[in-house]
Protein backbone atom coordinates (compact mmCIF):
# COMPACT_ATOMS: atom_id res chain seq x y z
CA UNK A 1 0.00 0.00 0.00
CA UNK A 2 1.44 3.37 -1.04
CA UNK A 3 1.62 6.07 1.65
CA UNK A 4 -0.79 8.22 -0.36
CA UNK A 5 -3.42 5.47 -0.34
CA UNK A 6 -2.62 4.60 3.27
CA UNK A 7 -3.33 8.23 4.18
CA UNK A 8 -6.90 7.98 2.94
CA UNK A 9 -7.41 4.51 4.39
CA UNK A 10 -6.19 5.60 7.82
CA UNK A 11 -8.21 8.80 7.84
CA UNK A 12 -11.34 7.14 6.45
CA UNK A 13 -12.93 5.65 9.59
CA UNK A 14 -12.75 8.92 11.54
CA UNK A 15 -13.85 10.99 8.56
CA UNK A 16 -16.73 8.61 7.96
CA UNK A 17 -17.92 8.91 11.57
CA UNK A 18 -17.65 12.70 11.55
CA UNK A 19 -19.20 13.03 8.10
CA UNK A 20 -22.06 10.65 8.81
CA UNK A 21 -22.90 11.68 12.38
CA UNK A 22 -22.02 15.37 12.25
CA UNK A 23 -21.57 16.74 8.71
CA UNK A 24 -24.67 15.13 7.27
CA UNK A 25 -26.92 16.02 10.26
CA UNK A 26 -25.75 19.66 10.17
CA UNK A 27 -26.69 19.94 6.50
CA UNK A 28 -29.96 18.11 7.20
CA UNK A 29 -30.67 20.53 10.04
CA UNK A 30 -30.45 23.39 7.56
CA UNK A 31 -32.86 21.56 5.24
CA UNK A 32 -35.11 20.58 8.15
CA UNK A 33 -35.34 24.18 9.32
CA UNK A 34 -36.96 25.06 5.99
CA UNK A 35 -39.77 22.53 6.47
CA UNK A 36 -42.75 22.17 8.79
CA UNK A 37 -41.49 18.83 10.15
CA UNK A 38 -43.67 18.01 13.18
CA UNK A 39 -45.34 15.10 14.96
CA UNK A 40 -47.44 14.28 11.88
CA UNK A 41 -44.42 14.21 9.59
CA UNK A 42 -42.68 11.98 12.13
CA UNK A 43 -45.47 9.43 11.58
CA UNK A 44 -45.83 9.95 7.84
CA UNK A 45 -43.22 11.76 5.79
CA UNK A 46 -45.93 12.55 3.23
CA UNK A 47 -47.12 15.34 5.53
CA UNK A 48 -43.84 17.21 5.14
CA UNK A 49 -44.04 20.62 3.47
CA UNK A 50 -41.37 23.07 2.36
CA UNK A 51 -42.01 26.39 4.09
CA UNK A 52 -38.89 28.38 3.12
CA UNK A 53 -38.02 30.87 5.90
CA UNK A 54 -41.39 30.66 7.67
CA UNK A 55 -39.91 28.93 10.74
CA UNK A 56 -37.37 31.71 11.16
CA UNK A 57 -39.89 34.49 10.62
CA UNK A 58 -42.32 32.86 13.01
CA UNK A 59 -39.62 32.49 15.65
CA UNK A 60 -38.90 36.19 15.46
CA UNK A 61 -42.57 36.74 16.31
CA UNK A 62 -42.52 34.24 19.20
CA UNK A 63 -42.18 35.99 22.59
CA UNK A 64 -40.80 32.82 24.20
CA UNK A 65 -37.89 32.73 21.75
CA UNK A 66 -37.00 36.33 22.58
CA UNK A 67 -37.29 35.55 26.27
CA UNK A 68 -34.95 32.57 25.88
CA UNK A 69 -32.52 34.69 23.88
CA UNK A 70 -32.64 37.41 26.53
CA UNK A 71 -32.04 34.91 29.34
CA UNK A 72 -29.11 33.37 27.47
CA UNK A 73 -27.65 36.80 26.72
CA UNK A 74 -27.93 37.68 30.41
CA UNK A 75 -26.11 34.47 31.27
CA UNK A 76 -23.34 35.22 28.74
CA UNK A 77 -22.93 38.94 29.43
CA UNK A 78 -22.70 38.53 33.21
CA UNK A 79 -21.32 34.99 33.36
CA UNK A 80 -18.41 35.23 30.93
CA UNK A 81 -16.66 38.33 32.39
CA UNK A 82 -17.23 37.04 35.93
CA UNK A 83 -15.94 33.63 34.99
CA UNK A 84 -12.84 35.03 33.27
CA UNK A 85 -12.14 37.44 36.12
CA UNK A 86 -12.27 34.65 38.71
CA UNK A 87 -10.08 32.42 36.52
CA UNK A 88 -7.53 35.17 36.02
CA UNK A 89 -7.56 36.08 39.72
CA UNK A 90 -7.03 32.46 40.74
CA UNK A 91 -4.22 32.06 38.19
CA UNK A 92 -2.51 35.22 39.46
CA UNK A 93 -2.73 33.95 43.03
CA UNK A 94 -1.31 30.56 42.06
CA UNK A 95 1.47 32.23 40.10
CA UNK A 96 2.40 34.66 42.91
CA UNK A 97 5.88 33.98 44.29
CA UNK A 98 4.41 34.00 47.79
CA UNK A 99 1.97 31.16 47.05
CA UNK A 100 2.56 27.90 48.93
CA UNK A 101 1.34 24.37 48.15
CA UNK A 102 0.75 25.34 44.53
CA UNK A 103 0.13 21.87 43.12
CA UNK A 104 -2.33 21.11 45.91
CA UNK A 105 -4.26 24.36 45.46
CA UNK A 106 -4.30 23.96 41.69
CA UNK A 107 -5.80 20.49 41.99
CA UNK A 108 -8.40 21.69 44.49
CA UNK A 109 -9.47 24.65 42.35
CA UNK A 110 -9.62 22.49 39.24
CA UNK A 111 -11.67 19.69 40.80
CA UNK A 112 -15.13 21.15 39.98
CA UNK A 113 -14.22 21.14 36.26
CA UNK A 114 -13.96 17.37 36.04
CA UNK A 115 -17.08 16.65 38.08
CA UNK A 116 -20.29 15.56 36.37
CA UNK A 117 -22.40 18.64 35.73
CA UNK A 118 -25.70 16.94 36.52
CA UNK A 119 -24.44 15.62 39.86
CA UNK A 120 -23.02 18.92 41.10
CA UNK A 121 -26.10 20.79 39.87
CA UNK A 122 -28.16 18.52 42.14
CA UNK A 123 -25.82 19.35 45.04
CA UNK A 124 -26.27 23.07 44.43
CA UNK A 125 -30.02 22.70 44.41
CA UNK A 126 -29.81 21.49 48.01
CA UNK A 127 -27.16 24.00 49.10
CA UNK A 128 -29.27 26.86 47.74
CA UNK A 129 -32.58 25.54 49.03
CA UNK A 130 -34.62 28.35 50.57
CA UNK A 131 -35.36 26.80 53.95
CA UNK A 132 -32.93 23.85 54.40
CA UNK A 133 -29.98 25.12 52.37
CA UNK A 134 -26.59 25.73 53.97
CA UNK A 135 -26.14 28.97 52.05
CA UNK A 136 -29.21 30.66 53.52
CA UNK A 137 -28.37 29.24 56.94
CA UNK A 138 -24.88 30.77 56.77
CA UNK A 139 -26.23 34.06 55.47
CA UNK A 140 -28.79 34.08 58.26
CA UNK A 141 -25.89 34.25 60.73
CA UNK A 142 -24.68 37.39 58.99
CA UNK A 143 -28.18 38.80 59.41
CA UNK A 144 -29.20 38.53 55.78
CA UNK A 145 -32.75 37.26 55.31
CA UNK A 146 -33.45 34.05 53.41
CA UNK A 147 -33.18 34.40 49.63
CA UNK A 148 -35.35 32.19 47.44
CA UNK A 149 -32.38 31.44 45.18
CA UNK A 150 -33.90 29.15 42.61
CA UNK A 151 -37.55 30.08 43.20
CA UNK A 152 -37.40 33.83 42.67
CA UNK A 153 -37.31 34.97 39.02
CA UNK A 154 -34.85 37.72 39.94
CA UNK A 155 -32.43 35.30 41.63
CA UNK A 156 -32.66 32.10 39.57
CA UNK A 157 -30.38 33.20 36.73
CA UNK A 158 -27.79 34.82 39.02
CA UNK A 159 -27.69 31.54 41.00
CA UNK A 160 -27.12 29.58 37.79
CA UNK A 161 -24.37 32.03 36.85
CA UNK A 162 -22.69 31.51 40.24
CA UNK A 163 -22.94 27.79 39.71
CA UNK A 164 -21.42 27.99 36.21
CA UNK A 165 -18.55 30.16 37.45
CA UNK A 166 -17.86 27.72 40.29
CA UNK A 167 -17.95 24.76 37.92
CA UNK A 168 -15.86 26.27 35.11
CA UNK A 169 -13.32 28.76 36.42
CA UNK A 170 -10.63 26.12 36.93
CA UNK A 171 -10.47 25.37 33.23
CA UNK A 172 -9.51 28.87 32.12
CA UNK A 173 -7.38 29.22 35.23
CA UNK A 174 -5.05 26.49 34.00
CA UNK A 175 -4.78 28.15 30.59
CA UNK A 176 -4.06 31.55 32.18
CA UNK A 177 -1.51 29.96 34.47
CA UNK A 178 0.42 28.60 31.48
CA UNK A 179 0.19 32.03 29.87
CA UNK A 180 1.49 33.76 33.01
CA UNK A 181 4.41 31.38 33.27
CA UNK A 182 5.41 32.21 29.70
CA UNK A 183 5.86 35.92 30.50
CA UNK A 184 9.61 36.69 30.76
CA UNK A 185 10.67 37.32 34.36
CA UNK A 186 13.00 40.19 33.48
CA UNK A 187 10.06 42.34 32.37
CA UNK A 188 8.89 42.42 36.01
CA UNK A 189 12.47 42.80 37.19
CA UNK A 190 12.88 45.95 35.12
CA UNK A 191 9.53 47.34 36.25
CA UNK A 192 10.41 46.77 39.89
CA UNK A 193 13.66 48.66 39.49
CA UNK A 194 11.65 51.52 38.03
CA UNK A 195 9.50 51.39 41.17
CA UNK A 196 6.26 50.27 39.48
CA UNK A 197 3.59 49.06 41.92
CA UNK A 198 2.05 45.57 41.66
CA UNK A 199 -1.09 47.06 40.14
CA UNK A 200 0.96 48.97 37.55
CA UNK A 201 2.91 45.82 36.72
CA UNK A 202 -0.37 43.97 36.22
CA UNK A 203 -1.78 46.69 33.95
CA UNK A 204 1.32 47.32 31.86
CA UNK A 205 3.02 43.93 31.72
CA UNK A 206 0.70 41.07 32.66
CA UNK A 207 -2.44 42.13 30.78
CA UNK A 208 -0.75 43.05 27.47
CA UNK A 209 1.44 39.94 27.56
CA UNK A 210 -1.64 37.83 28.25
CA UNK A 211 -3.59 39.49 25.41
CA UNK A 212 -3.66 36.63 22.90
CA UNK A 213 -4.53 34.08 25.59
CA UNK A 214 -7.31 36.33 26.88
CA UNK A 215 -8.78 36.58 23.40
CA UNK A 216 -8.76 32.82 22.83
CA UNK A 217 -10.21 32.15 26.27
CA UNK A 218 -12.85 34.83 25.71
CA UNK A 219 -13.96 33.36 22.40
CA UNK A 220 -14.09 29.78 23.71
CA UNK A 221 -15.95 30.82 26.88
CA UNK A 222 -18.51 32.96 25.05
CA UNK A 223 -19.34 30.20 22.62
CA UNK A 224 -19.55 27.67 25.45
CA UNK A 225 -21.80 29.86 27.61
CA UNK A 226 -24.22 30.44 24.74
CA UNK A 227 -24.81 26.68 24.80
CA UNK A 228 -26.41 26.79 28.26
CA UNK A 229 -28.67 23.78 28.73
CA UNK A 230 -28.02 21.22 31.47
CA UNK A 231 -27.92 23.76 34.33
CA UNK A 232 -31.49 25.02 33.88
CA UNK A 233 -32.65 21.52 32.91
CA UNK A 234 -31.52 20.07 36.23
CA UNK A 235 -31.79 23.05 38.57
CA UNK A 236 -34.95 24.88 37.53
CA UNK A 237 -36.59 23.26 34.49
CA UNK A 238 -36.58 26.76 33.00
CA UNK A 239 -38.69 28.15 35.87
CA UNK A 240 -39.54 30.33 37.81
CA UNK A 241 -41.68 32.26 35.32
CA UNK A 242 -39.45 30.93 32.53
CA UNK A 243 -36.64 33.14 33.75
CA UNK A 244 -34.05 30.42 33.11
CA UNK A 245 -35.27 29.08 29.76
CA UNK A 246 -32.17 29.23 27.55
CA UNK A 247 -32.11 29.07 23.77
CA UNK A 248 -31.02 25.43 23.82
CA UNK A 249 -33.58 24.59 26.47
CA UNK A 250 -36.21 26.15 24.24
CA UNK A 251 -34.85 24.13 21.29
CA UNK A 252 -34.94 20.93 23.34
CA UNK A 253 -38.57 21.48 24.34
CA UNK A 254 -39.66 22.45 20.84
CA UNK A 255 -37.85 19.45 19.34
CA UNK A 256 -38.18 16.61 21.80
CA UNK A 257 -41.23 17.55 23.85
CA UNK A 258 -43.48 18.99 21.13
CA UNK A 259 -41.71 17.32 18.17
CA UNK A 260 -41.63 20.50 16.11
CA UNK A 261 -38.32 19.45 14.60
CA UNK A 262 -38.48 22.02 11.80
CA UNK A 263 -38.92 24.92 14.20
CA UNK A 264 -36.34 23.50 16.60
CA UNK A 265 -33.78 23.25 13.78
CA UNK A 266 -34.40 26.88 12.98
CA UNK A 267 -33.69 27.70 16.64
CA UNK A 268 -30.45 25.73 16.49
CA UNK A 269 -29.33 27.56 13.36
CA UNK A 270 -30.21 30.96 14.75
CA UNK A 271 -28.15 30.17 17.84
CA UNK A 272 -25.26 29.06 15.62
CA UNK A 273 -25.43 32.32 13.66
CA UNK A 274 -25.54 34.36 16.86
CA UNK A 275 -22.50 32.55 18.28
CA UNK A 276 -20.65 32.93 14.99
CA UNK A 277 -21.49 36.64 14.85
CA UNK A 278 -20.47 37.39 18.42
CA UNK A 279 -17.21 35.41 18.32
CA UNK A 280 -16.25 36.94 14.95
CA UNK A 281 -16.89 40.37 16.42
CA UNK A 282 -14.72 39.52 19.43
CA UNK A 283 -11.87 38.34 17.18
CA UNK A 284 -12.15 41.50 15.05
CA UNK A 285 -12.05 43.67 18.15
CA UNK A 286 -9.08 41.74 19.46
CA UNK A 287 -7.19 42.14 16.20
CA UNK A 288 -7.87 45.84 16.08
CA UNK A 289 -6.49 46.22 19.58
CA UNK A 290 -3.55 44.18 18.33
CA UNK A 291 -3.97 41.48 20.92
CA UNK A 292 -2.90 38.88 18.38
Amino acid sequence: MKPSLAGWVFAAPALLVIGLFFGLPVLSALALSLTDFDLYALADMGDLRFVALDNYLELLRTPMFWKALWNTTYFVVVGVPLSIAVSLGAALLLNAPAARFRALFRTALFAPVVTTLVAVAVIWRYLFHTSYGLVNWAMGHAGIGPVDWLGDPRWAMPTIILFAVWKNFGYNMVIFLAGLQAIPRDLYEAARIDGASRWKQFLHITLPQLGPVLLVVGVITVSGYFQLFAEPYVMTRGDPLQSTVSVLYFMFEEGFKWWNLGRASAVAFLLFLIILGVTTLLLRLGRRKELV
Partner: protein, 278 residues
Protein backbone atom coordinates in the same frame (compact mmCIF):
# COMPACT_ATOMS: atom_id res chain seq x y z
CA UNK B 1 13.80 47.50 55.79
CA UNK B 2 11.62 46.03 58.53
CA UNK B 3 8.59 47.72 56.99
CA UNK B 4 9.29 45.96 53.72
CA UNK B 5 9.60 42.58 55.42
CA UNK B 6 6.35 43.22 57.25
CA UNK B 7 4.64 44.17 54.03
CA UNK B 8 5.79 41.07 52.19
CA UNK B 9 4.62 38.91 55.10
CA UNK B 10 1.18 40.50 54.85
CA UNK B 11 1.27 39.95 51.13
CA UNK B 12 2.11 36.27 51.57
CA UNK B 13 -0.67 35.86 54.11
CA UNK B 14 -3.12 37.57 51.78
CA UNK B 15 -2.19 35.41 48.78
CA UNK B 16 -2.34 32.14 50.68
CA UNK B 17 -5.46 33.15 52.56
CA UNK B 18 -7.23 33.93 49.30
CA UNK B 19 -6.10 30.62 47.80
CA UNK B 20 -7.35 28.78 50.85
CA UNK B 21 -10.73 30.54 50.61
CA UNK B 22 -11.02 29.61 46.92
CA UNK B 23 -10.08 26.00 47.66
CA UNK B 24 -12.73 25.82 50.40
CA UNK B 25 -15.40 27.21 48.07
CA UNK B 26 -14.33 24.78 45.33
CA UNK B 27 -14.34 21.70 47.52
CA UNK B 28 -17.09 22.46 50.06
CA UNK B 29 -20.00 21.31 47.85
CA UNK B 30 -18.17 18.06 47.10
CA UNK B 31 -17.30 17.43 50.75
CA UNK B 32 -20.89 18.22 51.75
CA UNK B 33 -22.09 15.69 49.17
CA UNK B 34 -19.90 12.97 50.68
CA UNK B 35 -20.92 13.85 54.26
CA UNK B 36 -24.64 13.83 53.49
CA UNK B 37 -24.41 10.56 51.58
CA UNK B 38 -23.37 8.89 54.86
CA UNK B 39 -26.18 10.41 56.93
CA UNK B 40 -29.16 8.34 58.15
CA UNK B 41 -32.30 9.08 56.14
CA UNK B 42 -33.85 12.47 56.90
CA UNK B 43 -30.93 13.92 58.81
CA UNK B 44 -29.87 16.39 56.11
CA UNK B 45 -33.30 18.06 56.12
CA UNK B 46 -33.08 19.01 59.78
CA UNK B 47 -32.55 22.57 60.84
CA UNK B 48 -29.90 23.83 61.36
CA UNK B 49 -28.43 21.69 58.55
CA UNK B 50 -25.79 19.36 60.02
CA UNK B 51 -22.34 19.36 58.41
CA UNK B 52 -21.33 15.87 59.46
CA UNK B 53 -23.37 12.68 59.90
CA UNK B 54 -24.33 11.99 63.53
CA UNK B 55 -23.30 8.41 62.80
CA UNK B 56 -21.78 6.92 59.68
CA UNK B 57 -24.40 4.99 57.74
CA UNK B 58 -24.43 3.19 54.41
CA UNK B 59 -28.24 3.15 54.38
CA UNK B 60 -28.55 5.67 51.60
CA UNK B 61 -26.27 3.67 49.33
CA UNK B 62 -28.08 0.44 50.14
CA UNK B 63 -31.43 2.10 49.56
CA UNK B 64 -30.26 3.67 46.31
CA UNK B 65 -29.07 0.39 44.83
CA UNK B 66 -32.17 -1.44 46.05
CA UNK B 67 -34.85 1.09 45.09
CA UNK B 68 -33.41 2.58 41.90
CA UNK B 69 -31.63 1.18 38.89
CA UNK B 70 -28.41 3.01 39.69
CA UNK B 71 -26.30 -0.16 39.62
CA UNK B 72 -27.52 -0.82 36.12
CA UNK B 73 -26.93 2.83 35.16
CA UNK B 74 -23.41 2.65 36.51
CA UNK B 75 -22.71 -0.39 34.33
CA UNK B 76 -24.24 1.44 31.33
CA UNK B 77 -22.00 4.44 31.89
CA UNK B 78 -18.94 2.26 32.25
CA UNK B 79 -19.77 0.27 29.11
CA UNK B 80 -20.63 3.28 26.95
CA UNK B 81 -17.66 5.38 28.09
CA UNK B 82 -15.19 2.51 27.65
CA UNK B 83 -16.50 1.66 24.18
CA UNK B 84 -16.30 5.31 23.13
CA UNK B 85 -12.78 5.64 24.55
CA UNK B 86 -11.38 2.53 22.88
CA UNK B 87 -13.07 3.11 19.53
CA UNK B 88 -12.31 6.80 19.23
CA UNK B 89 -8.74 6.25 20.41
CA UNK B 90 -8.15 3.96 17.44
CA UNK B 91 -9.98 6.10 14.86
CA UNK B 92 -8.56 9.43 16.03
CA UNK B 93 -5.02 8.08 16.23
CA UNK B 94 -5.16 6.60 12.74
CA UNK B 95 -6.53 9.83 11.32
CA UNK B 96 -4.28 12.13 13.35
CA UNK B 97 -1.22 10.20 12.18
CA UNK B 98 -2.43 10.28 8.57
CA UNK B 99 -2.96 14.06 8.68
CA UNK B 100 0.47 14.57 10.23
CA UNK B 101 2.69 12.14 8.36
CA UNK B 102 1.09 10.60 5.27
CA UNK B 103 0.84 12.70 2.14
CA UNK B 104 -2.43 12.18 0.34
CA UNK B 105 -4.46 14.15 -2.15
CA UNK B 106 -6.74 16.71 -0.51
CA UNK B 107 -5.14 16.31 2.93
CA UNK B 108 -4.80 19.99 3.77
CA UNK B 109 -8.23 20.89 2.46
CA UNK B 110 -9.95 18.14 4.44
CA UNK B 111 -8.09 19.15 7.60
CA UNK B 112 -9.06 22.80 7.14
CA UNK B 113 -12.67 21.67 6.73
CA UNK B 114 -12.49 19.70 9.99
CA UNK B 115 -11.11 22.70 11.87
CA UNK B 116 -13.79 24.94 10.37
CA UNK B 117 -16.44 22.48 11.58
CA UNK B 118 -15.33 23.21 15.16
CA UNK B 119 -17.30 26.46 15.13
CA UNK B 120 -20.60 24.61 14.66
CA UNK B 121 -22.19 23.77 18.02
CA UNK B 122 -22.83 20.03 18.40
CA UNK B 123 -26.48 20.70 19.20
CA UNK B 124 -27.16 21.84 15.64
CA UNK B 125 -26.68 18.24 14.51
CA UNK B 126 -28.77 16.66 17.27
CA UNK B 127 -32.27 16.97 15.81
CA UNK B 128 -31.54 15.30 12.43
CA UNK B 129 -29.19 12.89 14.20
CA UNK B 130 -32.10 11.70 16.29
CA UNK B 131 -34.17 11.04 13.15
CA UNK B 132 -31.21 9.23 11.64
CA UNK B 133 -30.80 7.06 14.71
CA UNK B 134 -34.50 6.29 14.53
CA UNK B 135 -34.07 5.10 10.93
CA UNK B 136 -31.06 2.99 11.94
CA UNK B 137 -32.97 1.52 14.89
CA UNK B 138 -30.41 2.91 17.30
CA UNK B 139 -32.73 5.06 19.43
CA UNK B 140 -32.65 3.81 23.02
CA UNK B 141 -29.59 1.65 22.47
CA UNK B 142 -25.97 1.94 23.57
CA UNK B 143 -25.00 2.14 19.91
CA UNK B 144 -26.94 5.38 19.59
CA UNK B 145 -24.71 6.98 22.21
CA UNK B 146 -21.46 5.35 21.12
CA UNK B 147 -21.52 5.66 17.32
CA UNK B 148 -21.48 9.48 16.98
CA UNK B 149 -18.66 9.73 19.53
CA UNK B 150 -16.31 7.31 17.76
CA UNK B 151 -14.24 10.14 16.30
CA UNK B 152 -13.74 13.79 17.14
CA UNK B 153 -12.01 16.74 15.53
CA UNK B 154 -10.39 17.56 18.86
CA UNK B 155 -8.92 14.06 19.12
CA UNK B 156 -7.60 14.08 15.55
CA UNK B 157 -6.09 17.51 16.13
CA UNK B 158 -4.44 16.46 19.38
CA UNK B 159 -2.83 13.38 17.83
CA UNK B 160 -1.77 15.30 14.73
CA UNK B 161 0.01 17.95 16.82
CA UNK B 162 1.93 15.29 18.64
CA UNK B 163 2.61 12.99 15.67
CA UNK B 164 4.25 15.79 13.70
CA UNK B 165 7.35 15.38 15.86
CA UNK B 166 7.92 11.82 14.60
CA UNK B 167 10.98 12.01 12.29
CA UNK B 168 10.19 11.22 8.65
CA UNK B 169 13.52 9.40 8.28
CA UNK B 170 12.35 6.79 10.76
CA UNK B 171 9.26 6.02 8.68
CA UNK B 172 11.22 6.08 5.43
CA UNK B 173 13.80 3.66 6.80
CA UNK B 174 11.04 1.26 7.78
CA UNK B 175 9.50 1.52 4.31
CA UNK B 176 12.87 0.79 2.68
CA UNK B 177 13.13 -2.26 4.93
CA UNK B 178 9.88 -3.38 3.35
CA UNK B 179 7.52 -2.76 6.27
CA UNK B 180 3.89 -2.18 5.28
CA UNK B 181 1.96 0.91 6.38
CA UNK B 182 -0.11 -0.98 8.97
CA UNK B 183 2.98 -2.55 10.43
CA UNK B 184 4.69 0.85 10.62
CA UNK B 185 1.64 2.30 12.36
CA UNK B 186 1.30 -0.40 15.00
CA UNK B 187 4.98 -1.18 15.56
CA UNK B 188 6.66 2.23 15.27
CA UNK B 189 4.12 5.05 15.43
CA UNK B 190 1.77 3.82 18.15
CA UNK B 191 4.51 3.27 20.79
CA UNK B 192 5.87 6.76 20.11
CA UNK B 193 2.42 8.29 20.62
CA UNK B 194 1.93 6.74 24.05
CA UNK B 195 1.82 9.99 26.11
CA UNK B 196 -0.76 11.62 23.86
CA UNK B 197 -2.79 8.42 23.83
CA UNK B 198 -3.05 8.52 27.63
CA UNK B 199 -4.09 12.18 27.46
CA UNK B 200 -6.68 11.51 24.78
CA UNK B 201 -8.00 8.45 26.59
CA UNK B 202 -8.74 10.23 29.85
CA UNK B 203 -10.18 13.25 28.04
CA UNK B 204 -12.48 11.06 26.01
CA UNK B 205 -13.51 8.88 28.92
CA UNK B 206 -14.37 11.84 31.14
CA UNK B 207 -16.25 13.65 28.40
CA UNK B 208 -18.23 10.49 27.63
CA UNK B 209 -18.93 9.81 31.30
CA UNK B 210 -20.12 13.37 31.96
CA UNK B 211 -22.02 13.85 28.70
CA UNK B 212 -25.66 14.72 29.23
CA UNK B 213 -27.64 16.26 26.39
CA UNK B 214 -27.20 13.65 23.67
CA UNK B 215 -27.74 10.61 25.94
CA UNK B 216 -30.80 12.39 27.34
CA UNK B 217 -32.16 12.67 23.80
CA UNK B 218 -31.30 9.27 22.38
CA UNK B 219 -31.94 7.08 25.45
CA UNK B 220 -35.61 6.79 26.28
CA UNK B 221 -35.94 4.31 29.12
CA UNK B 222 -34.44 3.96 32.58
CA UNK B 223 -32.82 0.61 31.67
CA UNK B 224 -30.49 2.25 29.17
CA UNK B 225 -29.85 5.56 30.96
CA UNK B 226 -26.27 6.55 31.69
CA UNK B 227 -25.57 7.92 35.20
CA UNK B 228 -26.08 11.66 34.50
CA UNK B 229 -29.40 11.02 32.74
CA UNK B 230 -30.54 8.65 35.49
CA UNK B 231 -29.51 11.12 38.19
CA UNK B 232 -31.38 13.96 36.50
CA UNK B 233 -34.52 11.86 36.29
CA UNK B 234 -34.14 10.56 39.86
CA UNK B 235 -33.78 14.10 41.17
CA UNK B 236 -37.31 14.74 39.89
CA UNK B 237 -38.93 11.83 41.73
CA UNK B 238 -36.78 11.64 44.83
CA UNK B 239 -35.93 15.27 45.52
CA UNK B 240 -36.93 14.82 49.18
CA UNK B 241 -34.51 11.89 49.69
CA UNK B 242 -31.48 14.14 50.09
CA UNK B 243 -29.18 11.40 51.44
CA UNK B 244 -30.02 8.98 48.64
CA UNK B 245 -29.58 11.65 45.97
CA UNK B 246 -26.17 12.50 47.39
CA UNK B 247 -25.19 8.83 47.37
CA UNK B 248 -26.13 8.86 43.69
CA UNK B 249 -24.05 11.97 43.11
CA UNK B 250 -21.04 10.38 44.84
CA UNK B 251 -21.31 7.28 42.66
CA UNK B 252 -21.51 9.49 39.55
CA UNK B 253 -18.72 11.93 40.38
CA UNK B 254 -16.21 9.70 42.16
CA UNK B 255 -14.92 7.63 39.21
CA UNK B 256 -14.00 10.66 37.09
CA UNK B 257 -12.64 12.58 40.05
CA UNK B 258 -10.35 9.68 40.98
CA UNK B 259 -9.29 9.23 37.37
CA UNK B 260 -8.39 12.91 37.24
CA UNK B 261 -6.45 12.80 40.49
CA UNK B 262 -4.36 9.87 39.28
CA UNK B 263 -3.73 11.14 35.75
CA UNK B 264 -3.99 14.91 36.15
CA UNK B 265 -0.61 15.62 34.58
CA UNK B 266 -1.81 14.11 31.29
CA UNK B 267 -5.17 15.80 31.56
CA UNK B 268 -3.72 19.29 32.03
CA UNK B 269 -1.27 18.74 29.17
CA UNK B 270 -4.11 17.83 26.84
CA UNK B 271 -6.12 20.84 27.96
CA UNK B 272 -3.22 23.18 27.14
CA UNK B 273 -2.40 21.47 23.85
CA UNK B 274 -6.02 21.61 22.79
CA UNK B 275 -6.84 25.21 23.59
CA UNK B 276 -3.84 27.52 23.61
CA UNK B 277 -2.01 26.18 20.62
CA UNK B 278 -5.31 25.66 18.78
Amino acid sequence: MSREVGQSRWHGLLVNGALLALAVVSLAPLLWMVAVSFMPAGEASRFPPPLLPSQGSFDSYREMFARTGMARNFANSLLVSSAITLGSLLFNTLAGYAFAKLRFAGRERVFQLLLAALVIPAQVAMLPLFLMMKQLGLVNSYGGVVAPALASVFGIFLVRQYARSIPDELLEAARIDGAGEWRIFFRIVLPMLKPVLVTLAIFTFMAAWNDFMWPLIVLTDQEHYTLPVALASLSREHIMDVEMMMAGAVVTVLPVLLLFLVLQRYYIQGLLLGSVKG
